[in-house]
Symmetry: D2
Subunit: 348 residues, 4 copies
């Protein structure tokens, strides 16, 4: 690191996550993008793949095997699951790794094997990985060499529920999570159901009772509570590009009321720059976080006694992915945590 | 009724519901639109208000007080709640009324008063009103003079849950309904949150724990079960024009499994032309019902034992409103029930 | 043809054009869908490919080579260009063919070869093909065995300009056509730029000075005028699924004014059920034709003397494709021309 | 101005332009938002009107008459046309004014009176106003006390055409401008045609031969050429929130070819950070500028000899409004011109 700038590599830079990392890096004073890989686009200019970033002075895309790791301080990995494990295992020790894939999120490699359909390739690395939910694992992230950034859905769910389960305010057997996501959550791959003509003016459900973010959510809620938690988790596809909205239904623990819930959430994030409980009367929607690293929360008493309705919303490509990854980088390298992340939401 | 055509009036014809009634009437061999009222647009051609229907040969818009009821066989009322009660009370007896407002949906006028904020103006008419959920009140509708068409959300929810509660397959205390609707559900009035620039690329929640469709849903579920039912009901606004999608989470009754649920729904609608349980593997989404009078259902076992996830989708302006109203008219006048309603969904 | 129903085949039934043919056929009393081919989906139920049409009783998808032509009265071809020529050449003589591809639109096979990059495979069939712009080639279509339906852009442009060029009201050297289309115009193939996340909230231009609909437009305008016409034609991609909007800029011929233009268009389509000149003050937009076989026209004097601004709009999948194809079938078989095509536009 | 921060007022801060000024100011190191006015929302927190900006520490909204001008260095005016003239006339002399309305754009007050329907209220101020097209009036802006920022359409058109007319490369009688805009261009007022249900999945034309941006475009093109220019200008409404796309058709001057056009545009903006000619083969669309202060240009030879097709795109709320206003502020106060405007486009 010369002149205070980190030399940064992005592996798998041709996905939407990669593009948003590059976009955000443009506003970060301490990031120098030195290596951008995308095996299927190797040799191209980055602007050929993402014309909106043609104004930036970026290195051309290369293959992973052509990257010179020696010069790098940190890499962001946005590779398909499975792939990252082998590559990370082969990196020089001095390079810190911020992984945006699912490869190191599950502490239990058995659970990984079951949900991802193959044996984990680097179980020993898994042991050293830190779960990168910035607000809740800040101290561990500070000293980590390998940070596994949470999935977009888990980020939104966990920021909402971890404080409440830690404080034992909810009946953990009652958690029902109805999740909604825009189309970028499905990635840039060519799939029939993500065509404009199919997804526009339409909404549908997918991955019923089988989405891979469920075990990740359960893992972290179990840590928070101190015992096993299982949740209903059902994701829906919404005709918008960015944004994620979580509606959670739960029964409160005995003696708890809605004010306890609100106070707990307000206290938990009082000094956090990116997470905020909406005041009563303020609405909540994806339009209030679009393009920013913000996460908004909201809590309501249901008409049925003992039941509460809780909401959480974020931009899946920012706080749900690239933004939180940069937030973790800031923590790992001792920068101010908001550095490069102060862009306000873009509305309309 | 000469030449087998009903003389039809539409009161409040300038709303989206009115426009879709007119659109569907164009394909109905037995409907002659004789009176179209819209007090704020009286004197205009209908094409001035809805240019897409300029090809039809329609009467001009008039004020309600200028309508000649004597010639009419049936009227559809799409007026704001409260208004309809007085008007219906003043109509000649021979005119059958199909009401699309909320005025006669709630059997208990106390409940009406509480949720709608004023004393019901025609409680004696309320007693004679039939709840127009076609598939479940067909026999009553046949002989009714006043049919209160269900709200769009209740239609979607009740088609899904009535058979299951009747058969006592669900724990009625566990019902959590997460509802999603497109923008036409909010009507044609000018509201900030329904502007394209506000609602596009955005989703949000509204009416948390206070939506007026909740008591209507509870009323009919209680009838189905034979005892009081209360539900969590939370509606969300989705950036699309048409379509409604209901995600329901429930615990099954003791000894019941997912196959019982599926069999019950399949049997309930085996001979119904407009309601269908999706087979396993077939997706479910608003795009499969857009513009049609269809309602699709789908049932799934959750990962958590004893819990099921149920979906329902329809076009809020058709099966959720104008289409079901015409279906009811067909029943009331002894026509084939599908008459004028055989248009297939429009996708993309 | 028994019981007055045509036995109909659709080749290439898995595209959007095929799906809209099937949708419209559901409302046509004289069409029986007997053969549906889609080589890449052969063996599947049609509902597996288009779930929104699961309510219809349709034959399964088969390969073209497995079709039994003997029983068919008419086939609609929605195959990629090039393919149709060979297949049509091999059909039994009694089967009438309505082609929706570009294979037989260009009378001059040299022009075809140049724009489509290969020698025409059936130049002798080309000679017998009739250009299926219903309103202008009605008499030829009546007796045709092979009708080449116009492209979506040409349909919109030609309905607007043919009457004006025939009447010599415009300076044919001045024609500038700025075309806008929704995403279904790009078909159901998987392309990066038609993903929701790429095309949503975006508009762009494509095929500048090289779109294959240009020579087709020029061919027919030249016929109308009686001498060669060349046009500027520039298509744009708009974030909507259906709809096409044409803005044309032209200088009038000497002594002509805007009223001549309006009168000419009004007269030309006075008795046409599907084409209409908007009156002054009425707006024009794709929302007024969506889902219908309608085409709307509009004509305006520019601020610059001698220049006029002309608009045309239609649904690319209906009047721009499947609807006009059925209109042509009605003409070919002596049915009322509007049969099965009376659905009104769907707005919103 | 203490601590190098300008004390900034925004008049009419409740429109979309105001909101984007506030959003961009959050990333500008030298702007302190001291006064925000919105007469109809006076007394509210800014977050009540724009919840997405609740994270910023902003003054509450006040009435214009309650503003303390003495402390301010610069004000941005986003008021309806007509209003600004009186207010600006009453301000203390030390306050620099950057006006985003149409009030001071037209040098000829006769033209203003004609197009805006009332006598100009401050014709003497008009004389001192500088037209704020940053790249072309930089020197004048530097010394101005009153800058009239161009309209969104004029910005896009003029950046494209001024260099070409200055260099006399185009036949100025041949200019045809087909403009497309997203819905934010229509403002935050409640209008039927800007509802999601009306504008979504739809496109239409408006203001044919009568849009107020036409005289502004003609004024500046006439200055560039040195003699009177008249253009055809036709705006269309596109179903997206942000973005503007201009398609211009023109004949080249004698002896000019497309390379001359490209070279001229490339040279004109070689050192400009915000304006760029796309290279051949690179696409052009609103998605490549969304949320940024960028303007992209593109030039193409038509199939017709002597005719060229030119494109221009920008975000109407940024380079077309708030972004250019801040760029002008940077010029007026001697800051680096890109200060606070380095955010990259947001795609998807």
């Amino acid at each position: 690191m010369t002149d205070n700038k980190l030399k940064v590599g992005i592996l798998g830079a041709s996905g939407y996550t990669g593009a948003d990392l590059v976009r955000l890096a443009a506003s970060h004073p301490n990031m120098q993008l030195s290596v951008l890989t995308a095996n299927s686009h190797a040799g191209k200019k980055y602007a050929d793949v993402y014309p909106h970033l043609a104004n930036m002075n970026l290195p051309d895309l290369i293959k992973i095997e052509d990257a010179n790791w020696a010069d790098l301080d940190v890499i962001f990995c946005g590779l398909p699951h499975g792939t990252t494990q082998k590559i990370v295992a082969s990196l020089p020790k001095h390079v810190k790794v911020i992984d945006l894939s699912a490869d190191f999120r599950l502490r239990n490699t058995e659970t990984y094997n079951e949900w991802y359909g193959h044996q984990h390739f680097a179980p020993e690395l898994q042991k050293g990985a830190v779960y990168g939910l910035s607000e809740h694992y800040r101290d561990d992230i500070k000293n980590a060499n390998l940070v596994a950034c949470p999935g977009c859905y888990p980020t939104a769910v966990l920021l909402l529920l971890i404080p409440l389960l830690k404080a034992k305010l909810l009946d953990e057997k009652s958690l029902i999570i109805d999740a909604k996501s825009g189309l970028t959550g499905a990635g840039r791959g060519l799939k029939l159901n993500t065509l404009f003509a199919e997804a526009g003016e339409s909404m549908s459900v997918y991955g019923v009772a089988g989405h891979r973010h469920a075990p990740e959510i359960e893992q972290e809620l179990s840590v928070a509570l101190g015992s096993d938690v299982q949740v209903s988790f059902t994701p829906h596809l919404i005709p918008m590009s960015r944004g994620e909205f979580i509606s959670t239904y739960a029964n409160v623990a005995a003696g708890v009321d809605i004010n306890d819930i609100k106070n707990c959430l307000r206290q938990a994030y009082l000094d956090e720059p990116f997470v905020r409980l909406q005041t009563d009367g303020a609405g909540i929607g994806t339009q209030y976080v679009r393009g920013s690293n913000h996460c908004l929360l909201s809590a309501h008493q249901d008409r049925i006694d003992g039941r509460v309705i809780l909401f959480s919303t974020l931009d899946n490509l920012v706080k749900g992915s690239s933004g939180q990854a940069i937030q973790n980088m800031n923590i790992m390298f001792g920068f101010e945590e908001t550095l490069g992340l102060t862009q306000q939401p873009m509305f309309p």
